[in-house]
């Protein structure tokens, strides 16, 4: 994403407060501007490999852009924190699979809510708004977990409803995709569906 930005995107806090009244409109504007200024705005598609993991290419992204993937790679260690394993290889896989599930989930949200999230992610990816609105100075790829955590806490405790809403959106899609998956049920102590019922029900039999 280019660092040189036109005057029309100069958003100070005051103008953000004002646009907070019409959040959707504001976020839509950022999306358009981000597109014009060269942010990745099309889905990352298939064969996309993260910087850290060059072996994986099976999942085909239908909503998240390459920038969004970098964003979530930065967010997830702060969002799901100690629930991620420390083992580097498994940790990378956990993050990758969670981002894939976030993508699959958002695709099912349908056009209207996808558009809202597009606005939110563009706002976070676009360098000027990343700095002015999220107060994250470096790009997401270089942001530390502590910086991301501070950003999340600012949005959580902000007096501006639009930021609270952004916080809820980010935590909700991530928490559901992470804690809701079978691989992470143990983190919440959920044993899964009762085995006796699984054994007794026809839909779980081979070939069902």
């Amino acid at each position: 994403m280019p660092e040189h930005i036109t005057a029309s995107t100069d958003l100070d806090r005051r103008s953000f407060l004002r646009t907070g009244m019409g959040g959707a409109l504001f976020l839509g504007t950022v999306s358009v501007t981000a597109g014009l200024s060269g942010c990745a705005t099309s889905p990352a598609g298939g064969g996309y490999t993260t910087l850290e993991d060059t072996r994986h290419g099976g999942y085909r992204y239908r909503f998240l852009t390459k920038d969004d993937i970098v964003l979530f790679q930065a967010l997830l260690p702060a969002l799901v924190g100690p629930a991620l394993t420390e083992k580097p290889e498994r940790r990378r896989a956990q993050i990758r699979e969670t981002i894939e599930r976030i993508d699959a989930g958002i695709y099912q949200f349908g056009p209207a809510n996808r558009k809202e999230l597009r606005g939110l992610f563009d706002l976070l990816n676009f360098s000027v708004t990343r700095v002015t609105v999220a107060r994250v100075w470096s790009g997401w790829a270089n942001a530390s977990t502590a910086e991301v955590d501070a950003f999340l806490n600012r949005w959580r405790t902000s007096g501006i409803g639009l930021f609270n809403n952004g916080y809820i959106a980010l935590t909700k899609v991530s928490n559901v995709a992470f804690y809701g998956h079978e691989d992470h049920w143990h983190v919440s102590g959920y044993p899964g569906p009762p085995q006796w019922a699984v054994d007794a029900l026809p839909q779980f039999r081979a070939g069902a």
Binding site: A78, G105, Q108, P193
Partner: protein, 530 residues
């Protein structure tokens, strides 16, 4: 598949069921009646009309899922069975809306609680909206009939501990509590009602009225979105519908035209006003979409000393109406107290937080209990509800400003829920509120709840009940349909779902929808066959 699976058996026997995703050519079909929506209202309507000998076409935007698909998995279920992949929210994003989008509608994913419309609500409708025909006495046979049809009776099994905590708290405080009637037959007490009943025990539309209609020659199109009712000379001439792709999200481009003598809209309190607005249905007093109601829901969670396993067992079996009508029908916002089931994805999405705190909170899920309050909106002059309007792409959206009247009720219900949990022995209690810490005693919580900001986004609000938007009433200046759900201006249009409620009702709405739809469909069948 099991021989007891009505859907699998019916499909094998040659039911007329078409998946919109399989259509490759534009086409036209005709019947006596087209019913739009297959939830509590649409299913009931289709079965009664089909049994009376009328030809019926059912239209459902969502897809047909049944036992083979119900695998007790949250992520799959939320993506496929719920509106907007479980991401539906009010216009400003402040209230999450849990609503079904599949054959059977919300009855396929609800928690089976089945209440008659409270008598004070029906009496209020009679006095305020001229709906004398819906008095508790007049409605009794319809409730009786639907309770039989859907096997509704108070849950005979012991409540799970999650629900029993509500009972224990009320008992200690001297507050009333009751056992919830459920629409189940041979229930295994598993706890997965919200992700599609895996055992076919739930007697929702999917296992009762939809099969009943299809057995009686009705035709079902699923994966077919009702786009527009086309009016010609004071009558609906036909419905234009779009076939959806197999992903259920994008129209394939194939259109279907459905012609009928009569059209019944039962597409929910968000979908029905949306369809009427898209269709430019005559609306001289601009009532369509107005006075759309939800029961706004807030919740608290408690950490108990013992294992609760809140993900297992009948999700809802105990309720308290102690505060529902205690301030009078049109006094301060009343609320019904119930319990939600807590599975990991739902809990992780609902309990606000991130990082180490969130992981620690969720690690206690097995010992977690939650209580929720359903606020009764629409009875007071300061509670006009919300408005359904259309987005640029024609999809409906609900704008729901939370009034000071509701905030007062929400603060009050936070108090009562925390008090119940501490009375039942909770070690710690937390509000579903961005600013709420864990409280370790009732006095501490009581003081803090008075000081917490009651603001949109900071208070986590939800709803699973949508009502109104095509309100019924005697006066066309303040309603869309009459007491039989018949449109005031178009003779061959009826509305048979919760969108006709002139207020919220103060109880989970499925039985109210079943009963009104049965009454109004029986009336309609008489009209069309007469």
């Amino acid at each position: 598949m099991s021989i007891t699976d009505r859907i699998a058996r019916g499909l094998e026997s040659g039911w007329k069921v078409t998946d919109g995703a399989t259509l490759t050519r534009n086409q036209t079909h005709e019947a006596d009646v087209v019913v739009i929506g297959t939830g509590a209202g649409g299913g009931t309507t289709a079965e009664i009309l089909a049994r009376s000998g009328l030809s019926v076409i059912l239209v459902e935007e969502g897809r047909l899922y049944y036992q083979k698909d119900f695998r007790m998995n949250e992520l799959d279920a939320y993506a496929s069975l719920y509106q907007e992949g479980m991401s539906r929210v009010t216009k400003d994003g402040a209230i999450s809306i849990l609503q079904g989008r599949c054959v059977g509608g919300s009855t396929t994913v609800n928690w089976t609680s089945s209440f008659r419309t409270p008598a004070p609500t029906l009496n209020w409708w009679a006095s305020r909206f001229g709906l004398d025909g819906l008095s508790p006495e007049a409605m009794k046979p319809w409730f009786d009939g639907r309770e039989e049809r859907h096997n509704i009776e108070p849950w005979r099994v012991d409540p799970n501990l999650n629900n029993d905590i509500l009972r224990q708290g009320c008992e200690k405080l001297g507050w009333s509590w009751q056992i919830i009637p459920r629409n189940v037959k041979g229930c295994w007490n598993l706890g997965y009602c919200g992700v599609g009943c895996p055992t076919n025990a739930k007697q929702g539309a999917l296992t009762t009225t939809i099969p009943g209609a299809l057995d009686n020659n009705a035709t079902l199109f699923h994966g077919l979105r009702a786009e527009r009712l086309v009016v010609k000379q004071d009558r609906i001439n036909h419905l234009t519908a779009s076939a959806m792709s197999a992903d259920g999200i994008i129209p394939s481009g194939v259109t279907v035209e459905l012609r009928a003598r009569h059209f019944v809209v039962a597409a929910s309190a968000i979908g029905s006003p949306g369809l009427l607005l898209r269709s430019d249905i005559p609306d001289p007093h601009e009532r369509i979409g107005k006075r759309t109601f939800i029961h706004p829901v807030n919740a608290t969670v408690a950490e108990m000393a013992e294992t609760v396993d809140p993900y297992y067992g009948a999700p809802q079996s105990i309720y308290s109406d102690q505060f529902n009508f205690s301030g009078g029908v049109d006094g301060p916002a009343g609320f019904k107290l119930e319990v939600p089931p807590l599975h990991p994805a739902m809990s992780a999405g609902v309990v606000p937080g991130h990082g180490a705190d969130q992981t620690l909170d969720l690690s206690r899920l097995p010992r977690m209990n939650s209580v929720l309050a359903l606020l009764r909106d629409g009875f007071h002059p300061d509670s006009p509800g919300g408005t359904v309007s259309l987005r640029g792409d024609g999809s409906p959206v609900l704008d729901y400003p939370v009034t000071d009247y509701l905030w007062r009720g929400l603060r009050e219900s936070f108090h009562r829920m925390a008090e119940i949990q501490f009375a039942a022995g909770a070690q710690r209690v937390r509000l579903m509120h961005l600013d709420s810490p864990w409280f370790s005693s009732w006095p501490e919580a009581r003081k803090a709840i008075d000081d917490l900001a009651m603001e949109s986004h900071r208070v986590r609000l939800f709803t699973a009940h949508q009502m109104g938007g095509c309100g019924m009433g005697q006066d066309p200046r303040e309603s869309v349909v009459n007491g039989f759900g018949e449109h005031h201006h178009l003779a061959n249009l009826s509305v048979h779902d919760a969108s006709i409620f002139p207020t919220s009702i103060g109880a989970n709405p499925q039985l109210s929808v079943y009963a009104l739809a049965a009454r109004n469909s029986t009336h309609l069948a008489g009209r069309l066959r007469g």
